[in-house]
Assembly symmetry: C2
Homo-oligomer: 514 residues x 2
């Protein structure tokens, strides 16, 4: 196996962080913009985002949630109303204070002191407080409930340390906001959104996740309950890939979201919010990438099959191109996983081998090379990105296959690849969650062990609150660890809390995290 | 006809501006957000935007343009580089100066003086200057050209007087940005985008437009040429519905977008940019709305057919709902104008007549009411929103039609409605462009005449520049008139300029405008 050349200069096992940056760069997903903490999302990265958007949006609409658009600017007074919320966000927001620039007299520009806003505006870090205003206008009676809204938008959080896709000052996301008559209905919606995220992220992005409730200290500022989906990256760290919050009546109280109930009594609404973002793309990279670049799960691949004619700048090219056009047209008529197959015929000039490596690095699921000999035999040379190497001879795994058979079989191949990618990730994840650790000493040992990428621990605890919880959080923090969530489907407890020694009440996941 | 009741309290002929606001409110398209100059786009309005986005995006992608995403914040230095550009925009931009809020000690929040940005950031009013930076990184050789990018984004221009959809401080748009080897190729792209806009706006939005070049004084700041599509509203005013700019080497020079040509010589790129926005929805309202509310062209209607069961809160409702579900399922299998038909079964509680008027005001193209008698006869009661009233008896125009026949005919009906709406608007537009006016006195008389909504004038001019043009612009401005564009397909000139008396060189359109 040692003779396998890999397409990236950095391997996962040598430097995972550098490998991550290399994939982003080599797969041409995104780049630093030069504007503090903001990235430029390039066509292949944005194409993946468009696919995720389409699939998530279909699920959102299927649940009866309606898309709207709310202002990017939020007045300060909206933040002042919800104390916990501002405490959580006030430290990292972009503040607009002027609405005009003037010349500084030296060829530069400065904010015009005459155009200072009476009240500064905040660039939304999240929209509970502005959507709350709209909900207060829209809801009068129980007949107006549930109110189910969502928006696709950019948001800004002034992050000190940024990393592309995972933590950027500006990012793209969807944020669902709903209002309900009572706690039960709002909690039901919180769980519906969580399950929708699980389904989309597992089925479409092929990222296995663990759903569960966040501990008190990890709650969204102002929330009563925060639930998350947690995915394991190949370095064993956790990535929170989506969150769903039951907000109680906190935001309804702050914004005045009230309704007349069936008896004519005025009541506060119970609200929820839930979000997923471009961060998910970071999860896709760190779950499915390999030492040759990215592997994109077929459902979210902008192009599922890329056809590369081996052009030679000769008259014969014409026949070869015509043959490739036929393959392309044949594939485009096929459907896979409920959608028309997405095929690209890459006619760019340049050698097929060079172009092949472009698509290997980008992670197109199926790459098809066609030379004149293939054409004569009615064949194509197929590469499955997930099975790139012949491990025996270290060469690229070409599958010389009949053209017409390939056209018919491609949809099932893609479906299989989708499933296999999920299973591969799930097996790795499951193999890297350790149970049975019963003391903080063992935790510390586990994470200081020789194992480079140790994975997660599932431990039992007594669910301490307040200062006692703070102490646990600090202890874990000393080892760079956090509590990810309380898994929904964990086994029953049968022992004592590893932190307090008190009887355990539930299981929690502990991990290093992004 | 006088006994026709209309659904809005204001008629177009009485107060067009108030009528416009009434449609937006009654069709539940958008509302004021309470944040200066920003609107909330509500589900029906946003649904129309999603349809426009989808159709425009398909056209953009079909042209080989790739979607990306660029930062919302632009450093001041980017604006300082292009003098004309900043001159055009600097007066109306939102400026971020701080990245943190702190308590003011009185329960309020203020920007933290310790968190002042070293260099303020501008919230993008348009992205030439930031995308230029990326292009400078991405383009090295002629092989990298043409570079064809687009982004869907929000932008902010600090407008003093705002009007929903037409002029808001924040709005949603797409902005295409391309780089080319030379003037010819960049101009070709400028015209391709213009033609794409014409086709989308005419074919999808059913808004007839006149394509042409803007006069010098109306150019985009920093552009060499600006081309526009101009639509006529029902009050005779013009709406610029999209623009396409040839930017020469101005922005390439400012950002350093250079390439090595085939001979190895370094050259500046020629760039273009082109944009359309949520403003188009304002055009749809003012072109297709009537005294009963909005009429949405079928191609951009979120729901093309709305089915209203006449529920009576009785056990028979079940059979009626089942019947309606069948109609709905039958329609959903049909395709119209290249897409699956979009049907909604409106099961909300409430009388069908009340719900009917909701959908009349929203402008769903086909509204289908079904009562138990219709069900027994295998029929439906169809209302065409474009043909709502029986002008002879002043009653609603119901078409009691066979259910199965309707399912089959619905796609063709929608196509016909789409065509009819375009033709109706085109005839009105054509009837309201006056030609043959030969002096500024006649222009003044035309616009001060009794005619409430006078329309446009097509006149001949000598294409003055500089001060002479400025004088023309001022003269027109005194009558609240502007030059819209130089129509591409106008007849040849054969006389003198109505402003200067010199030989005419081209025809221009004059109008009041939004």
């Amino acid at each position: 196996m040692s003779n396998i050349r890999h397409a990236l200069s950095v391997k996962r096992e040598d430097d995972f962080a550098a490998w991550y940056q290399a994939v982003i760069s080599e797969a041409d997903l995104a780049e630093d913009s030069g504007v503090r903490g903001c990235m430029v999302i390039k066509p292949w990265g944005y194409g993946i985002w468009e696919r995720i958007q389409r699939l998530m949006d279909d699920r959102i609409k299927a649940a009866g949630v309606q898309n709207c658009y709310f202002p990017i600017f939020i007045p300060l007074k909206n933040f002042e109303r919800e104390a916990q919320h501002v405490e959580g966000f006030a430290k990292e927001m972009a503040v607009v204070t002027h609405h005009r620039l003037i010349s500084d007299g030296k060829g530069g520009l400065v904010p015009d002191p005459e155009a200072k806003l009476e009240e500064p505006l905040v660039v939304r870090p999240t929209s509970e407080t502005i959507i709350g205003d709209a909900m207060a206008r829209w809801v009068q009676s129980w007949r107006d409930l549930p109110l189910l809204t969502n928006q696709w938008a950019n948001v800004v959080r002034w992050e000190m340390r940024t990393r592309m896709f995972l933590r950027t000052s500006e990012f793209l996301w969807q944020e669902g906001h709903t209002a309900h008559e009572n706690r039960e209905q709002a909690q039901e919606e919180t769980m519906r959104a969580l399950e929708m995220y699980r389904a989309c992220v597992e089925e479409d992005l092929a990222l296995p996740v663990i759903t569960g409730e966040k501990p008190e200290n990890e709650r969204f500022p102002g929330a009563v309950e925060t639930w998350s989906i947690e995915a394991m990256m190949q370095d064993g760290k956790a990535l929170q890939a989506g969150t769903s919050h039951y907000l109680g009546t906190n935001f309804a109280q702050a914004a005045g979201i009230k309704y007349q109930d069936r008896e004519g009594t005025e009541q506060l609404c119970h609200t929820t919010s839930w979000g997923t973002s471009t961060r998910m793309i970071g999860g896709v990279i760190m779950t499915h990438g390999d030492d040759d670049g990215l592997r994109v799960p077929p459902r979210i691949a902008p192009h599922q099959v890329v056809i590369l004619p081996m052009l030679r700048d000769k008259p014969e090219d014409e026949a070869l191109l015509a043959y490739c056009e036929e393959v392309c047209a044949g594939l485009a008529k096929q459907w896979s996983m409920g959608e028309p197959l997405r095929v690209l015929l890459d006619k760019r000039p340049g050698k097929a081998a060079g172009k092949r490596w472009d698509w290997v690095r980008k992670g197109a699921p199926l790459i098809v090379e066609v030379g004149s000999r293939d054409m004569e035999g009615g064949k194509v040379a197929l590469i499955r990105r997930s099975d790139l190497w012949n491990l025996e001879n270290g060469k690229t795994n070409f599958d010389f296959t009949d053209r017409d058979a390939f056209i018919v079989e491609a949809p099932a191949m893609l479906e299989q690849i989708q499933q296999d990618m999920f299973e591969e990730a799930r097996e790795r994840r499951d193999a890297n969650i350790k149970r049975g650790v019963t003391s903080m000493e063992e935790v510390a040992a586990f994470y200081s062990a020789e194992t480079k990428y140790p994975g997660w621990l599932e431990v039992q605890w007594s669910k301490p609150t307040g200062d006692a919880l703070e102490k646990v959080v600090e202890t874990l923090k000393a080892h760079k660890l956090t509590i990810r969530n309380v898994p929904m489907n964990a086994e029953a407890v049968d022992g004592t809390c590893i932190f307090t020694g008190e009887p355990a009440v539930e299981r929690i996941l502990i991990a290093k995290a992004y």
